[in-house]
Amino acid sequence: MLRLVKRFNEANPDVNILMQRMDWSTYYNKLFVSGMGGRAPELFVLQTLAIPRFARARFVRPIDDLVAGQNPIDIADLDPNVWQAVHVGEHHYGLPLDIWPMGMYYNKKLFREAGLVDASGEPKPPTNRAEFMDAVHRLTRMRQFDTGPQQQWGFTFTYFESNLYTLMCQFGGEFFTPDLSRCIINNPKNVAALQFCVDLIRKEHCAPPPENFDSWIGFRQGKVGIVFEGIYMLADLQKQRDLEYAGAPAPQIGDRPGVWGGSHNLCIRADLTGKELDATWRFIKFLSDNSLDWAAGGQVPVRRSLRDSARFRSMEVQSQFARQIANVFYLPRLPFIFEFQTEFNSAVEKALRGSSSPQEALDLAAANLNKIIDRDREAGA
């Protein structure tokens, strides 16, 4: 990104972009507080999940007029679900730069050892429930590692939110009523999805209990055959030369295809006008046009025209993950998104650890979220 900023500054001597990097864990707090004090940057990145709350706080400028203005961007170049995800009320509040669909990473060496190969002897990633179950069973076994005999796992849950949201969406589960007036996270389809995951650990014994296993590190150490993770973890794997890995779309385990995903969106401060607004939009368009450079670091550009290029197709994992974009499910668009994530992750964690049954865990999450909805309604939502 820094290189892109430098290139833009060189090509646009009348504009000077200063970029500031921040840790995600405190980014939104700082951004929100700076917005409250009128000190927010002219341009900032928002993940799709954060847009509704910043839109409600009126910190973000709608971009519908800019998209169709003198320096237009072809929205038809974006997938409809990606553009729809930045829509709140009557406006669109940011230009999606990339998309990070969750996908499947698998260990090619372990696949070959387990005989999970196609006719030409190449590792064959599972694409449906039957193949997935067969693969995780065949991959799970005791084996000798450098450090001694240890269990090799077929699958492991890495990020609870992305893994379970994917499966719940695939099982046809819903989270809220269409008008967002009630939380229905405890509906039978979500319970079934969560039960499927619990069974992978407790009944099928193909995934380790989360109590004492660092899942992602376990995959990197070659102790796990399959993980579901975001495309953003690719950079981590690219550093590891001794791991034979590949990426593929997540298998369809439920009744419909679907994966958890999100986007980085370029958003403009609400009060920006005149030359500053022009310069900001010029920079946004530059980033969007050049988002293939951004993709090289482990991202998927949202522009279809860029994904059709030979350069993108040569990015092996990114292009595999990009096949799922039409099936990406964004998190629900809520002003109280962080509270939703807390309740969601807490319910999943309890169920996977065996502290609660899936039904009990999701019932509690639904009850807590309904209280939050009532409070939010009172706040004038």
């Binding site: 706080a57 109590e211 296993f213 109280f336 309890k350």
Partner: protein
Amino acid sequence: MTLMSPATRKVLKSYSGYLFVVPYLALFGLFLLFPLLYGLGLSFYKRELLSVVPAHFTGLNNYTEAMHDAYFWKSLFATLRFVAICAPLTVTLALTIAIGLSRVKGRMQTLLRAAYFAPTVLTVSVAGIVWRWFYNSEFGLFNAYLKHVGMKAPWLTNTGWALASIAIMTLWWTVGGPTVVLLAGVHNIPPQYHEAASLDGADGWLAIRHITLPLLRPVLLFVIVMNIIGSFQVFGQTFMITRGGPEMSTRSLVQYIYETAFNNYRMGYAAALSWLLFLIIAVFSAVQFRLMREK
């Protein structure tokens, strides 16, 4: 040459003291007292940054909500557990080290004192990240050693272990401060007391129990009170190492307050939770002062 009347001199003398404390009082008032009182006022309001309804007075509603909030009780319980594990261990270890160091003479004492104090100069983020690696179940230092005896400990991944693991890290990180304070206290005890006791045959544990500890009482009270207050305010370590997990077992009250204010933007409710924490700490401190009061 004019001479000041005794009355004028008296007035000036009494005011000069205030002049010396003015700089501190100004900062104290601006950055502590004012926010404290502002926070108290805020705790009686419903002020939510995402709300389109303006802030309005709700009386004790925020406090009532806290009493029925399961997350408040869970985070308070986690905090109390942390205080119960960490504070006694820190004070006992600091006292033991201080007494031990007081018997080491010369440069070696300086060297050891610096060694014990060294971790304290690290920021919580550095200490937290390093210990998160130490505790990692797959490649962590501790499990690498345990593997030699066929064991693997769930340092941060088990709800029963995680808080204790963070307390151990805190002990390593913070024990240097109270050690230095207690060591200074031990040095301030006149050596004649120990000499006299030695002549009467009271050495070792007897001397510690009947001379060192009673004479250290004011310093010890200070260390205990400060340590308990610090433990109640635990946040950085849990945030850096576990983010409050697993299953919120290490989510401290301060972390819950932080998330309520800066993730969920419920400023009024967060202010009420802060004041509840303040009251809890105040009660604990008052009880300690009373228990350890000089007779």
